[in-house]
């Protein structure tokens, strides 16, 4: 059984998986995002960077349907997306992790990752309540996939440990595991490396690249660590005060004067 999905085969010919057109989002008088357009190719690692308050997390929340932009269009997987609830969007194949870990602290690592399979469980309460039957089969199949995720992330030793007892770096890894378990077409990572030490960061980089490599999953990530962003992403979009100020491959972005001024700092 494999967690690979179909997008892997199309890597060579970049097709647009997510296309954001002229998105604007405001909260009352506060403009969080102003007229931003960019796209995400299938199978790429796309980074969204920018200073604090630039609108990065808002952008991610727009993508996964938590916020509804006042203006603009979202095209996902070739279809124009109407306003949806986040859970409906999860069913469409978008999974995410959070800046401040959002796991069930009292549940084991295994159970937490199993919740990522929710969108792939179809049996109703009646079948779930029975010991034997189709729900059991479904549970076994899902568990097998979750075990592959656990193996992939090398967290076998903490399988049965309650998440609340784990150090921060491992919790981040479990959260990635839960998102992976959903077999998403698009994986959104909100600051996956925030607050980690160098070794944990290196591990996380390796996992992100391996996910992209092995399963062909498209990844959009927000990250502050410039070294990490430049190393692992294929293309970078730069936001500042809710506007897009740069877009391109890491080297171009690094050398773009507007970006240097806005984000990396102006030399005086």
């Amino acid at each position: 059984m494999s967690i690979q999905n179909t997008t892997a085969d199309q890597q060579h010919n970049p097709a647009v998986l997510l296309d954001l057109k002229h998105i604007s989002l405001s909260f009352g008088g506060v403009k969080a995002i102003t007229d931003i357009s960019f796209d995400i190719y299938e199978g790429e690692v796309r980074a969204i960077i920018g200073p604090n308050g630039a609108g990065k997390s808002s952008m991610l929340n727009v993508i996964n349907g938590f916020y509804h932009p006042q203006q603009g269009e979202i095209w996902f997987d070739g279809k124009h997306r109407q306003a949806m609830k986040p859970y409906e969007i999860a069913y469409q194949g978008i999974a995410r992790t959070f800046q401040n870990i959002a796991l069930f602290k009292g549940m084991s690592v295994l159970d937490n990752i199993m919740t990522g399979r929710f969108t792939h469980m179809s049996k109703n309460l009646f079948w779930q309540a029975l010991w034997k039957g189709p729900a059991e089969q479904e549970e076994i199949a899902n568990r097998e996939l979750v075990e592959h995720v656990i193996d992939f992330l090398e967290i076998q030793a903490i399988r049965k440990t309650p998440v609340g007892r784990l150090p921060y770096g491992l919790q981040k890894r479990v959260e990635l595991g839960r998102a992976l378990a959903a077999q998403p077409k698009l994986l959104l990572l909100d600051e996956p490396m925030a607050g980690m030490n160098v070794e944990e960061k290196e591990d996380m980089c390796r996992f992100i690249l391996d996910v992209n490599d092995t399963f062909g999953t498209t990844i959009a990530l927000i990250e502050h660590d410039m070294g990490v962003v430049m190393d692992i992403s294929d293309r970078v979009v730069v936001l500042d005060y809710g506007r897009k100020i740069g877009d391109g491959n890491p080297d171009d972005v690094r050398n773009d004067q507007t970006v240097i001024d806005a984000y990396l700092g102006v030399s005086h």
Binding site: E147, F152, D210
Partner: protein, 656 residues
């Protein structure tokens, strides 16, 4: 020594190599589990027939890729079935497997590759493959790297690195056209052929490649299995480094007897996996038994008062009653009842939690084990015994027979082993397991093995009144005080290390007037103590410099001094001063070997300022040391180290 002197050298006539035993087992026990590995949360198993099939396809694939008789195959990885299968696959083709420690850094690996002239490398995963590729331009003899776990390796050049399964597929194609080829190849080897080269970690200088023949390994393994009454129903956990002879000899026993080897899911899950498997036959260095006991003690200190009292009470009972019971000595009825109650309430559950519930025989070796630790396990009813051996002897030189277990001795010679003490006090042996030679090192071979087959162990020891061997120390480490009296550093260090809060100790005294010591505290045990006593600390260094920690260690050192007083030969070597090092001695910094033995020469050199300070009466000393981090970067640790004086217990010993 010829195998014919032993009445039954092999498990069956002509079964004198691993490949022949493999075919034999596949015939005898086709449906019996030969190997298990926990993966994806479930124990996956292979029967002997399945193992033979896996090895067959891999062997033929290797042959197709050009592996020939006499070639060396470097095997680097953890305890994975495929690592074990690779060894036998190489042997079928007459090639020689060279297993290597998986935590060795690229330079260490380069040395082994160059020295062994390995043409093929079989690596567990990306980490190991990267290491090989890193040194490959300096080791042009390496033609092909075969990896077990393909993760992250998809984009690598297929002409230099190839998947294990791809090689197996090639082998399957060969098999379909030549179905009998594998069987023919398997029967080609002979007992006196070279079976494996094991590189010893080497406390001095570069590692040496110990060449062992099939006869060395298999006769020794089989004789030990016969003596211990092993059957095909044993369960063994493979968790020791595959490059260590202590692991290899159990693989050999598994092939001889047909019992099952179990590979843990990962290094971090060994304890949980061991509990699930419940091995019946267990081997661990004293360090493992020690850390298990420390764990139990720490957790009992944190347990509720009632449980703690119950534990203490029944452990006292066990210490009085358990050992005589185990040795079959008479025990009073009331004591038996108490022990039975303890078994139901404490010993049984405790053994189960430790994964030792089904262990009928446990061996320990490599270092001396503390009497207290030894007694703890024996009191629980676990028949733990010591053996004495080394890579050069294919492990077994002496072993403790049942009913004759003394903490300070290592037992009687195993069958076929002749033992003698040289005039210098060095222990020498001659046995069927005595190694063939050191690879490409005739000088060392000649210095270690005499023309008539006697091997120098390098250990100083003597035969006790009961006819048991007692090892005092490494022969080269045994020194003399300036007064001319004997100085046995390891003996004293072991006494120190038996305290749970002391992780490592290094003593000095050769050519000096008194004995002094470096101490490494055990971060687990002392950290736990600090937590319970509200002692705040931010790092190992800070904890090590804490005054209360010093007081605690000082009390232990004084206890050691007191116990040394009772030993006539060593009463003069009481410790007069000690210090607690600001960093843990680490194999990555070269201070320990990969098997965690202290490298004295290097420590003498690197810490000479501290050693001088121990002898010139200074109260503290400044030191700056380079440390290597796990990712290979180098940093510095600096600080003042306090030196403490200790009370000694005789008028003869140098005053402090």
């Amino acid at each position: 020594m010829a195998a014919s002197e032993i009445s039954q050298p092999y498990p069956g006539p002509g079964l004198d190599t691993f490949p022949k035993l493999l075919l034999h087992n596949a015939r005898m026990f086709p449906d019996k589990d030969a190997m298990r590995e926990k993966e994806f949360g479930i124990w996956q198993s292979w029967t002997w027939q399945a193992v033979a099939d896996e090895i067959e396809r891999f062997t033929l694939g290797l042959r197709e890729r050009g592996l020939e008789a006499g070639d060396k195959v470097l095997i680097i990885g953890g305890n994975r079935p495929r690592m074990y299968w690779s060894m036998v696959a190489a042997q079928v083709l007459g090639a020689i497997p060279v297993p290597t420690y998986k935590d060795s850094v690229a330079e260490e690996m380069q040395y082994v590759i160059e020295h062994s002239e390995a043409r093929f490398v079989i690596a567990e995963d990306q980490e190991q493959v990267d290491k090989v590729l890193e040194v490959q331009h300096r080791c042009p003899m390496v033609e092909l790297v075969i990896y077990d776990d393909p993760r992250g390796l998809k984009t690598y050049d297929a002409s230099t690195a190839v998947d294990f399964e791809v090689v197996q597929q090639q082998g399957a194609e060969v098999r379909s056209s030549q179905p009998e080829l594998f069987k023919t190849l398997c029967t080609q080897g002979k007992g006196e052929d070279i079976s494996i080269i094991l590189y010893t970690s080497g406390t001095t200088g570069q590692p040496k490649g110990v060449v062992l023949t099939f006869d060395n390994v298999l006769i020794t393994a089989y004789q030990a299995a016969l003596r211990d009454g092993l059957s095909e129903n044993e369960e063994n956990l493979c968790y020791l480094p595959i490059a260590w002879v202590g692991d290899h000899i159990f693989v050999a026993q598994s092939y001889c007897m047909g019992f099952c080897m179990n590979c843990p899911e990962s290094e971090a899950t060994v304890m949980a996996d061991m509990r699930e498997i419940g091995p019946t036959y267990y081997f661990a260095p004293p360090r493992v038994f020690e850390s298990l006991l420390t764990n139990v003690q720490i957790r009992m200190q944190d347990a509720a008062p009632f449980k703690r009292k119950m534990y203490n009470y029944f452990m006292d009972v066990a210490k009085q009653v358990g050992i005589p019971l185990l040795e079959g000595k008479p025990v009073a009825m009331l004591d038996r009842c108490k022990y039975a109650m303890g078994k139901a309430l404490i010993y049984g559950p405790l053994k189960d939690a430790l994964g030792l519930g089904r262990v009928s025989l446990a061996w320990t070796a490599g270092e001396a084990i503390g009497g207290e630790i030894f007694d703890f396990y024996r009191a629980l009813g676990i028949n733990i015994k010591q053996l004495y051996g080394q890579t050069e002897s294919s492990v077994f030189i002496t072993a403790q027979p049942d009913g004759e277990v003394y903490p300070e001795t290592v037992g009687r010679p195993s069958s076929g082993v002749e033992l003698r003490i040289a005039d210098s006090g060095e222990v020498m042996y001659r046995s069927p397991g005595a190694f063939h030679s050191y690879y490409k090192n005739p000088e060392s071979t000649a210095a270690t093995k005499t023309a008539d087959g006697w091997v120098h162990t390098g250990d100083a020891g003597f035969i006790t009144a009961q006819g048991h061997l007692r090892i005092i120390d490494r022969a080269k480490d045994v020194g003399k005080f300036s007064s001319g009296q004997l100085f046995a550093p390891k003996y004293i260090e072991n006494k120190l290390k038996f305290f749970p809060h002391i992780q490592e100790a290094v003593t000095f005294g050769d050519g000096r007037d008194s004995c002094t010591a470096f101490i490494n505290i055990d971060l687990g045990a002392v950290g736990n103590w600090a937590e319970r006593n509200n002692v705040a600390y931010a790092s190992y260094q800070e904890l090590a410099a804490n005054a209360e920690v010093y007081a605690m260690v000082q009390a232990s050192v004084e206890e050691v001094n007191e116990s040394l007083l009772s030993d006539e030969m060593l009463a003069h070597s009481q410790i007069s001063r000690f210090l607690i090092l600001h960093k843990e001695l680490d194999a990555d910094d070269g201070e320990l070997t990969r098997t965690k033995k202290v490298r004295r020469a290097l420590i003498n050199d690197r810490y000479s300022i501290l050693i001088d300070a121990l002898y010139n009466g200074a109260e503290q000393c400044f030191i700056e040391t380079e440390v290597a981090f796990e990712d290979g970067r180098v940093g510095k640790i600096a600080g003042d180290i306090k030196i403490a004086d200790v009370k000694t217990f005789t008028s003869i010993a140098s005053a402090s």
